[in-house]
Amino acid sequence: MTRRISPRRVSGGFTLALFLLATCAGFMGLKLATDKVLRMKVPGSSIIYVPSGKFLKYATFGYSALAADMVYLWAIQYYSTYEIPDRFERLDHIFSIIAELDPRYTDPYEIGSLIAGQEARDVPLAFKILGRGAEKNPDMWLFDFEAGHIAQMQLKDFDLARKYYGKAMAVPGAPDLIKRLFASTTFKAQDYQTAWETWLEVLNTATEDRVKEIASNHLYQVKAAMDLENLKGAVGRFREKYGRLPSALSQLVMTGILPSLPKDLDEKDYLYDPGTGEGKAPTVWWKR
């Protein structure tokens, strides 16, 4: 037995379908129209009331890692929206939330510090974010390494950089490169003795010839810097005593200012310019 559908019901259905189509088109069109109306907003107002990660963690019902992913994804979009002029004001807050939700998630520390250092030009904040990463992950060398890199490249503060590299290389499993960076920045911070000892250690422990060569060249550089500094002091004392610059470095020995003249790592004599009183290494260290 077939069921008959009355024409009235068919026309009712047709009218309803038309109504649904019309209202759907209507609200979709209105959605686009409302988007075009620029509403004034308190910049960053959407994140002002985001609670701290510690409290948010309880609200995630065990899905804190997923919540961290979501906040991180959102943060990437948010901080790459250049129309928000004061988007960096809550940078620390947002990345601290991610750190609380998933302390082992390394990307947010790195990207957060990158945004802080490069875009917001807030280097102390970059250090703070990386410091949080290091504090929560004491078995990871990455954060101190990144902080050292920022101090070295962005601030040119070699003393600070070597402190960070020193902490990073102390973490078990840290790559050898960090020790070389530590030695290099220590040299630039003019702590020649520590730089010498570190490069010597690199040379003695290196397994690759390339690394041995790098360490040897740096040892040459450190020794030359130490010797030239001693020579400069001796030339200064000669000038004080005789009122003129020595015509040759040998005069420093002849007058008893130095017991003997230092030689470079390749047993070559240092070069001397009697006109300026400046000494220099006979070989360019990185061309050895």
């Binding site: 009712g12 259905g13 309803l16 379908a17 109504f19 649904l20 209202t23 759907c24 209507g26 609200f27 979709m28 209105l30 959605k31 686009l32 129209a33 409302t34 988007d35 109306v37 620029l38 509403r39 004034m40 907003k41 308190v42 107002s45 959102w74 979009q77 948010y78 790459s80 929206t81």
Partner: protein, 254 residues
């Protein structure tokens, strides 16, 4: 006429629902408590009262709409009273519209009562009636119109628990869908982006009814948005009600 009768009966039925009074009680407690919360803050205390008050009206209004709306049609089917009703010369669309309007009337009265308490608390703090708050409250009510329609739609084919979950999901999606805009802008042009854009325009955007930030911070509201947001809410509610009628027409109660 028939719609009005059903609406009035729905209103009378809603009046007897304890859930309504319980939610209203909690809303009132929250609004009054906002004054105590304000004491704890350092700085602008009125802002805390405004924020907590408006949030309470919105949140408890939504809970009223969902918890009452999801049971409206289901109860009639479950208790078999639908047979008596549909045996009379009532169109199914009239039945749905009557139920909807009855609940809207209930929610309107509840919103007015919550608004009176809220404005009263604000008055005791600032000694002036803060009329701009009514803009935010009016659009909260508009949002409730849409949520009620959604609750009734789910009520036509699902149990109250499932309907509540679906309606709550609709509410959450509605308040998060705006965040799709940024990823869409960053997508490469093509079919994927077009699809995402269609989805973006189709998904509810309940932020169109959110004027809480503007009124609390005294920000200027562009006049055009009132018209567009109101029309958007009404069109979306009409679409959802149309769907509810369509589903309800298809249902066989034998």
């Amino acid at each position: 006429m028939k719609i009005g009768t059903i609406a009035l009966n729905t209103f009378r039925e809603a009046k007897r629902d304890r859930v309504l009074y319980l939610l209203f009680f909690f809303a009132a407690v929250c609004i009054v408590f906002s004054r105590a919360l304000a004491i704890l803050t350092v700085g602008d205390r009125v802002k805390i009262i405004r924020d907590v008050g408006l949030a309470s009206i919105s949140l408890f209004g939504v809970l009223m709409a969902i918890l009452m709306g999801t049971g409206l049609v289901y109860k009639e089917i479950d208790k078999k009273t639908i047979f008596t009703l549909l045996a009379k010369p009532i169109h199914r669309a009239q039945f749905i519209l009557g139920k909807y309007l009855g609940l809207v009337l209930t929610l309107f009265i509840m919103t007015v009562l919550m608004a009176v308490i809220f404005l009263g608390v604000l008055f005791f703090h600032t000694f002036r009636v803060e009329w701009p708050m009514l803009t935010a409250i009016l659009f909260i009510f508009l949002e409730l119109l849409l949520i009620t329609a959604v609750a009734i739609l789910f009520s036509t084919f699902s149990t109250p628990i499932l309907s509540s979950i679906f309606s709550l999901s609709f509410y959450l999606i509605g308040h998060l869908s705006w965040s799709l805009e940024t990823p869409i802008r960053k997508m490469k042009p093509g079919a994927g982006r077009t699809l995402a854009y269609v989805l973006y325009t189709f998904l509810p955007d309940l932020e169109n009814f959110n004027f809480k930030t503007e009124v609390v911070h005294n920000l200027p509201i562009p006049p055009g948005i009132y018209l567009y947001s109101t029309a958007y809410g009404l069109f979306y509610a009409a679409f959802i009600l149309g769907l509810a009628i369509w589903v309800f027409r298809k249902r066989d109660f034998i």
